[in-house]
Homo-oligomer: 188 residues x 2
Amino acid sequence: METTERKIIEAAIFIFNADPSASLETVADKAGVNRRTLHRYFNDRMQLLEHCKKDMMQTCQAAMSQAFSSSKEPLKQLEMTLYAGIDCGAKYAFLDQLYSRTSYQQLPPEERETTFDTIKSQWFKLVMELQKQQVISNEISTAWIFLLFGSMISNTIRAVHSGDVAPNDVKKFAWFSFSKSIGIKSHE
Amino acid sequence: METTERKIIEAAIFIFNADPSASLETVADKAGVNRRTLHRYFNDRMQLLEHCKKDMMQTCQAAMSQAFSSSKEPLKQLEMTLYAGIDCGAKYAFLDQLYSRTSYQQLPPEERETTFDTIKSQWFKLVMELQKQQVISNEISTAWIFLLFGSMISNTIRAVHSGDVAPNDVKKFAWFSFSKSIGIKSHE
DNA sequence: GACTAATGTCCCAAGAATGTGACATATCTA
DNA sequence: TAGATATGTCACATTCTTGGGACATTAGTC
């Protein structure tokens, strides 16, 4: 079964993803819980945010790790990582926003650094390796590729959300576009 | 010279772009104007938003139109359109957010429809033409391409903002990635 | 200088969101 | 069932935001 804490976090991620400045009342409602109860679990809005962050880190990290280990082939790993990101979906997008929104950018630097680090370092190694092997283009920087990766995930979420792109096509499109956007010539 | 109204709108776009729920005080400060003055120009938060929207439409539309007319070659037009989007920069991103954020999605449908229409229809014709000519891949849908276009612009803005990608590289990267992501084989 | 429009300053009232205390209920467990 | 634990309910103070009234002050204009 689901604990109340989890229900709240889940709701918070969902709600804040749509609107980062939504009221805690809204979150509590979504969680099917009284606002007072929410406050019992999380003293503070910030505390709730922190827990969301932790939750997302775990979820994404797990999905990413699995993606990495699903194949020995670097290119396949990259593809699987993208799919993992897409599957984390809303959660990822929220995290993304959290860190691009100025209001949260005044967080202590070490906070910002460590969040992605475990996922990110694996990912970077992978990409740099592929660049060395000339599988990925050297015309663009690794940082740019990283941003592309994130934006492709956001884009995929938006695509599904907008209803303009068929959900079944979306992963295929995403990999098609991402792989080419980083200069991969073709794939089976 | 710049009118007070313009200064406020400019500031509003800048501020709301970073945080859509920022206070009007913040906007007024950014504009170097008293909050009371802001209220004299715009009765309402919504009214301010409307004016921002109008401003952005004009700016973007002008830039896009110019991009379209800068060349006869469809592919070059597309490239120029992307650059125009990037140059609109923050403004575009704001518009983008405005329409993807749920809170604004409850706007009357005709509002949403007409906003982009003039730009969008030209753009769509162009892309569909290029797809027909097999310059752009048919494996992906036009809607997806449109989303990619927007997300590439947002991404470019973020890249510059993050400081991880050199501003001088960014447009080049953007076109490199975008053109390939939609299946364009190569370009001079 | 006198008159007018624009802006700044100060104040206020309504509303929303936040965080918390006190107490009633409900739910679980020994 | 009794006792503990978790939730709901209500009430409250606090703060922030918003919009606007009243009036002083500054810039322009004739």
